[in-house]
Symmetry: C2
Subunit: 433 residues, 2 copies
């Protein structure tokens, strides 16, 4: 059995792995903070945009081009081959685990932030915007998928229907957390406009994630496995909605009794979150879907706010940047090496903006808003942000899409996210004069 | 190249590793919380005692005896062998990395809590107690090490001097964080007694960790490597004390300017922490020593309290329990299979209690306290808690001590920690009547 020297050296002890992890985290955090600082200071962008770009810069598209050996050493993406056995590089397995735990907590917090009660108050207009924001991008995405299927953008064994479902779901995504942050920053979160967007965005994200769960379940190799996945997920959602919600009220009670969220309480939350994530992953849907649904059915109020405060820093500042790097390692701008592919990229961006931004603008106008407010709704609903990257990485991991389509969709996510802040700034400033 | 089936199946994909991690964390957190809840409710013990015991229960001493296959599957300690290459199990590498990051932040927070100003106010008595709490256990430990050397308790290549230095340092440890928590719970933290114990405990821990750094530096294979380790560490400590302290005041300034510790600030703290940890590990001393020293020289006040609040939950509730499990996996009660070894264990416990507890009691009495206060000082200084486990795991990892001595020392750590709460309760209750 022959092992090339550079492969043999990858067999590191735990201490060496730790040392490398410290270095990796230092590079990741420094780059993310630097780029997002520059983007915020000079371009008025949100942190997310900077961190998305930082991830791509640390991948093969920039760092990997400038210093391929150092990049390969720091983020050794290639699996290790020894004899007949192939397994992931342990150093990257550690980073991967950290990033996934980060996403799990992140999606739990997104679920926790969704406020379904908003829907009741603004049922009509939120319903119209939300339906437009699902149906139109879903339809356009599905049509595009049928057109693009067989062009090296989807994996060989993916049926046109699965491709259509996946593209539809991934174009229907709204970056709910980013939208909430922008509304907060602009002081719009409690306004009529703010609640409308929040309600529509929540509903769209909940639906898009359920669609994704459906796609993941339906691409199983055998009918039996697919039935377990769909049945198991449905049973989970129904159980959480009808019983889980009631049982979990104990957390609200504990918080009132103790006056605050104690460490014990938080640890319980974490244990339940891991069980939910484990269950949904085990039946065949992604782990973070379990955490997301758990977040939705958790009690609201003081408990939720407090949990959010406790977990936010860990997630957004430390763990999520690791995810951006993974996403960036998968993004290979070099793959877009033909005018045809760039044309497809342009088409996808157009579809995304038309499907979500324009459709939501028109829907808001139709439901009675004025043009400016309607356009603000459209601009906000159109951001994809990190939520899109999550769904794309799942699609790539599960072998639904190829690295080429992945890269195209990442560009779309960045373009729609970059558009949002300046547009909203411009619309809102005009509004106030 | 032949690979046994149970070895081949260890080559897991990243998703499988993540799924296993979720299960491992669920088991670890549930067990730690359950045992520490029972210990607190029925035996009046602190959380740490329960978590120390939970770790041992999940190791070969209980879980491994009751369900060896399941335990080996959940916590696969054995390294993977493929052909001529041996490397750690990736699943355990992930847990290891998490536990070490946890320890790093934990020791940073311990450093941040040390208040050297206390020494100025109670210089005389704190100095006497602190010196007694170092010299006596260090001397007794060193004598014991000379006596026990060559008895299969220290590794073959460890010189008697290194063994003596290590035993001395590890017997001088005080569980400073636990001591602070007990004083807080009993409302003693602001009293004369409280400041005396805190000051003496801080000083002892700072000295013991420097001694450990010295041991680690001195056991290097060659003189050159030892000089780099000692010189590099000394340079680091001096730099941090004289310059770092001044530079790091910027954090205090930022906190005042922003009114609170922002995520940006926290991320900077984290980046610097990782660089410090990387540096000390790189020159040849353990990573957590770098984080500990950084904690000591960080600015105090609002900044420190806020950082503490932000990082405490993540560390003590989520990451530190993983460390207890690692420690428990290394603890093999089955190794103590002869009356001679149990006699040695008893001797070590006796030395530990005499050296630290009795010596500090007498020193406090001599410095002018009454008997009850002096005994409280002794009981508090005598707890080893988690700090001892950290130093023991480093000793085992670095090949200083054998698993047998490790197990004996863990028993000592648990006994001295279990003693503390009831003793202090009894002494303090008497005090108030």
């Amino acid at each position: 059995m022959a092992i090339a020297p550079h492969q043999a050296q990858e067999f590191m002890t735990n201490s060496e792995l730790l040392l490398k992890l410290l270095l990796q985290l230092t590079v990741i955090l420094s780059t993310c903070k630097l780029v997002s600082y520059l983007g915020k200071r000079y371009l008025g962008q949100t942190d997310v945009v900077g961190e998305m770009l930082a991830g791509i810069m640390l991948g093969p598209s920039l760092f990997g081009m400038m210093a391929p050996n150092f990049q390969q050493w720091l983020f050794p993406k290639a699996p290790i081959l020894t004899g007949e056995i192939v397994f992931p590089n342990p150093s990257m397995s550690i980073l991967y685990a950290l990033s996934q735990v980060g996403l799990m907590i992140y999606m739990f917090l997104v679920g926790l932030d969704l406020n379904m009660d908003l829907l009741k108050n603004r049922a009509k207009s939120a319903g119209i915007v939300s339906i437009a924001g699902i149906i139109v991008p879903f339809g356009l995405g599905a049509i595009a998928a049928f057109g693009l299927h067989g062009q090296d953008l989807f994996s060989q064994n993916v049926t046109p229907w699965a491709a259509a479902l996946y593209m539809g779901a991934s174009l229907s995504i709204t970056a709910f957390p980013m939208l909430a942050r922008i509304l907060q920053e602009r002081g719009l979160i409690k306004t009529k406009l703010g609640t409308l967007v929040l309600a529509a965005g929540s509903l769209d994200d909940a639906i898009a994630w359920c669609l994704l769960a459906l796609v993941l379940a339906s691409i199983k190799s055998s009918m039996n496995v697919a039935i377990i996945a769909i049945g198991g997920t449905l049973a989970y959602v129904l159980f959480m909605w009808f019983f889980g919600q009631r049982i979990l009220r104990i957390f609200s009670y504990w918080t009132r009794r103790d006056g605050e969220v104690t460490m014990q309480t938080l640890t319980f939350v974490f244990i339940i979150m891991m069980i939910c994530a484990y269950y949904t992953d085990f039946v065949g849907v992604h782990a973070i879907f379990g955490a997301f649904v758990l977040g939705i059915v958790m009690p609201r109020g003081h408990f939720a706010e407090s949990v959010h405060r406790h977990l936010e820093y860990l997630t957004t500042s430390l763990l999520v940047p690791i995810f951006f790097v993974f996403s960036g390692l998968n993004t290979q701008l070099g793959l877009l090496n033909s005018p045809r592919l760039w044309a497809i990229a342009l088409l996808i961006i157009l579809i995304a903006v038309m499907g979500k931004g324009l459709a939501c603008t028109l829907a808001a106008k139709w439901s009675g808003e004025n043009w400016r407010n309607s356009m603000t709704v459209g601009a906000l609903m159109n951001t994809r942000g990190m939520m899109e990257l999550i769904i794309l990485n799942i699609g790539l991991e599960q072998g639904l899409i190829t690295p080429t389509l992945f890269t195209i969709m990442v560009i779309m996510a960045i373009v729609t996210t970059v558009m949002c802040s300046p547009l909203v700034n411009w619309l809102v400033r005009d509004n106030q004069t």
